[in-house]
Symmetry: C2
Subunit: 515 residues, 2 copies
């Protein structure tokens, strides 16, 4: 098995005269090469765009797509398929959609289906309720910028139920194109220098989901990294939060603390005590809290339980129950996996009302999020209940997906831990494992000699020789001198097995070359 | 009919202790008032968020919603319904969706519908083609950040057809959540100071669609206003472009010229000669061009014709055919009116390839636009053709919508011009009229005495006394000392008539009070 050293996979554009996005025309005039007079070159480009990185869709994924098309063109490879474990994209990995969600969306889109006997009565009722809240009874109308009222009410009812009676107000709920959009538009609010003129500082974990680092870089905000404790199954130590904050204080004005729970890419589930400590810390330091809880349905470890930040804050009572918090959820993860529909929401509590009004104004120029995405959220927060005609099938489908994920969550850490030089924490929740790989000095040297991060070098070699597409730990952040990668647990059982086999074989070979 | 003076309609939030987004809990602990310790107040808020305004969803629209709920609660008013002519939201105004679009989206969402006899064979074929390009054959999978390949190919074929053979490359097409998102993410690229350290300058028309002013304010870019010539039916004079540029040069570094054609809010359609002049001007000044062409299907004037900037540039030959251009289209307007589905695209030609790669990276953190929105775009750019089973119904539905809009476009200017003190240019295209109102000095004085823009005062009075919701010209920009408003031409015939009557009556009364 050859160990290849490739460039980073950056697309190889030709020069200006025949650049791929130049126009061509049947007449010859559009084809004639002409000198380049771009008004916008790399020099004039917004430099923050250059700085931002989003590894989940980075060079490895671009190269994976190239390899796929090479395979289609019968280019000979030591493998016959690409296994994409780079992104939490469940349906792309053959996970089936939930019938109830799809029937509601289909009939909302094409209401003559309400006469279709195939659609149960609870689907039809839901469709009527939702369309009644759409302008002209059409999903083609803009909703309010914050989303359809009825969906926001259902979100609130869901949160109240989930949090054992801690009330939620629909006025505090905004719907968005996935959780990402809500996170991005809320974080924008904080982009203001502190009283001392220092830039605002946002605390994010290392490792973190690169939406955060990308957004922070794009906004020119100061990133304050706190390390999760790998030795304690990626726990969030408050002492580490304090260290990070104190170290950052001279260069920025800390305003916001972001926590991902269950963790991405790390798969840990925070304990209730841990969450309390984090809340106390945020209160002490007057930090606004972002709780990214999009994996709240994805807890596999029988000893772990999901606790929402909102519920814990409420149960702690004042002053903690008066703290500012935005929490996020999505139709893209859980057992639904409806990534392409782009449905998400944020609940924002205790925000200064004037600021909240400004926030709502700021999202109005984007008009509204996808109404069909909003409807997906509705189905997620108000699924069929026992006694309703869709319930049985819904419960079966949901249980099946979660059972599969549960099984793969334990299988993956077992399989990885059985390989020499790989160490993987328990996957308590979410959809990923983030194992550590002990790279030999010779491999690190080799990587550096070709100008690559060692884990990138490792991942690109894995891709080229086996077709397995993982994301190197450097895309998420990791302690200096340690190397990891993120893999999803999503492939269907047969592919999952194949993935483990290809990976094991590669790793052993790699170690024999560089060990 | 009373002439009321109201505050701007800004929501009246209570103070911190009982602010509407505070939590409540069955236990008393969450309810106890406590001192306000917001970490994010108006002082710490990103000040650009405060500066940005989006009048189309501003205070008048908030007040209109309040009035609607007052009417529901049987509050007595001199009218029994609100007429919303504030926003180009066709389905909310009873325009019917196009069956083909809805059948394709419904069956893509719920593929068992492929067995449904109700769905014609061309719908089923399209669904199979589209699903074949989705990961796991599901619209629940993420697409590439730039959108589904097959849709981008269809967009390119559409553009090539529309532009009489000027080739388009699918690599240059990106799909987005409506045209707005593409405009916002592309404009972000230009946010970089010039070589002299001056802020970047973006040229936009006055009047303009406030997405532009809002985005420019949010990004902290310098806005360069050029005035459209009301006396020449809102034509775009190059002399005025030059004046605006020269005046702005000392304070900024001009980089981008935005043109909306057909015009929003002004409804004009640029002549080919006018477009040529604009292109020459942009070339001379090394400006990147944005052509907002979302109303390309909405041309009503028999003497007008839509010419795309891309086609004109290509036909002019080098050096113009090598200029950088981004043009935008959408599923939200035209005869489709599918605003809620959030489907749009940009075609970007002659962009520096390195910059283009950076742009694609920058949108990757947002993952992808709504896949169902992308599918809506597919139906728009590749509608049924003669001989296909869906063609006849499609053609009938499309013709009906466009005929209605055409009729209302002429009716509105006639009706408005018949009112003393109102002057309306011909509505050649798009979905709006932007009449001038000659406000008497006493009305202007009165408005100023209550701290309002005169046209805002007028519009708010119209709303309070008749239920008609228009948007004041100050939300779009207008020549100092002139006053306008924007109204859509979308209400169905009976409502349209009612709107004209209510408006006429109000205007006459207003003039008699202040004239």
């Amino acid at each position: 098995m050859p160990i290849l050293t490739r460039p980073t996979g950056r697309p190889n554009f030709a020069n200006c005269a025949d650049k791929p996005n130049s126009q061509a025309r049947s007449g010859a005039d559009m084809m004639s090469p002409s000198p380049c007079h771009s008004s916008l070159t790399m020099k004039e480009l917004n430099q923050r765009i250059i700085e931002m990185q989003y590894a989940v869709r980075g060079p490895l994924v671009i190269r994976a797509a190239e390899i796929e098309s090479e395979l289609k063109q019968n280019v000979k490879k030591p493998f016959n398929s690409v296994i994409r474990v780079n992104i939490g994209d469940a349906h792309a990995m053959q996970q089936h959609p939930i019938t109830f969600i799809r029937q509601v969306i289909a009939a909302c889109t094409y209401p003559p289906l309400l006469d279709c006997a195939q659609f149960p009565s609870d689907v039809r009722e839901r469709v009527r309720l939702l369309l009644g809240d759409c302008g002209g009874c059409s999903v083609g109308s803009y909703s309010a910028s914050v989303g359809l009222r009825v969906v926001r009410e259902h979100v609130s009812e869901y949160i109240t139920r989930r949090d054992g009676g801690v009330l939620s107000d629909p006025e505090n709920v905004i719907l968005s194109n996935g959780a990402s959009e809500a996170i991005r538009s809320l974080m924008k609010l904080f982009n203001h220098p502190g009283p001392d003129g220092k830039p605002p500082g946002v605390m994010v974990s290392t490792p973190q989901y690169p939406l955060y680092s990308a957004t922070i870089a794009e906004y020119g905000i100061c990133r304050i990294d706190y390390y999760l404790n790998e030795e304690k199954n990626w726990a969030l130590d408050v002492a580490e939060l304090k260290r990070a904050l104190e170290e950052a204080r001279p260069k920025c004005h800390p305003v916001l603390l972001c926590v991902i729970n269950p963790g991405n890419p790390t798969g840990q589930v925070l304990t209730r005590a841990n969450i309390e400590d984090v809340i106390k810390f945020a209160h002490e330091e007057k930090l606004f809290l972002f709780a990214d809880e999009v994996y709240q349905d994805n807890v596999y470890d029988p000893d772990s339980k999901f606790h929402s930040f909102k519920k814990v804050m409420a149960e702690m009572g004042p002053p903690y129950s008066n703290m500012e918090l935005a929490s996020f959820h999505s139709a893209s993860k859980g057992y639904m996996g409806e990534c392409g529909l782009r449905g998400g929401y944020a609940e924002i509590v205790n925000m200064d009302p004037d600021v909240f009004a400004q926030f709502k104004k700021s999202i109005s120029a984007k008009l509204c999020s996808s109404v069909l995405g909003q409807i997906a959220v509705d189905c997620v927060v108000k699924p069929p209940v026992p006694g309703e005609p869709s319930y049985e099938l819904f419960a079966k489908e949901k249980a099946e997906v979660l059972k599969n994920l549960h099984d793969k969550a334990s299988m993956i850490s077992e399989a990885l831990n059985s390989i020499k030089g790989v160490k993987c924490n328990k996957v308590q929740g979410a959809m990923y494992a983030f194992p550590r790989i002990l790279l030999p000095p010779k491999a690190i040297e080799k990587a550096k000699s070709v100008g690559q991060e060692p884990d990138f070098f490792y991942a690109m070699n894995l891709l080229e020789s086996t077709g397995v597409c993982i994301i190197p730990g450097s895309g998420f952040g990791q302690k200096e001198g340690t190397f990891h990668f993120r893999t999803t647990i999503l492939p269907p059982p047969a592919v999952f097995q194949d993935f483990i086999e290809r990976f094991t074989k590669f790793h052993e070979h790699f170690m024999s070359v560089y060990g």
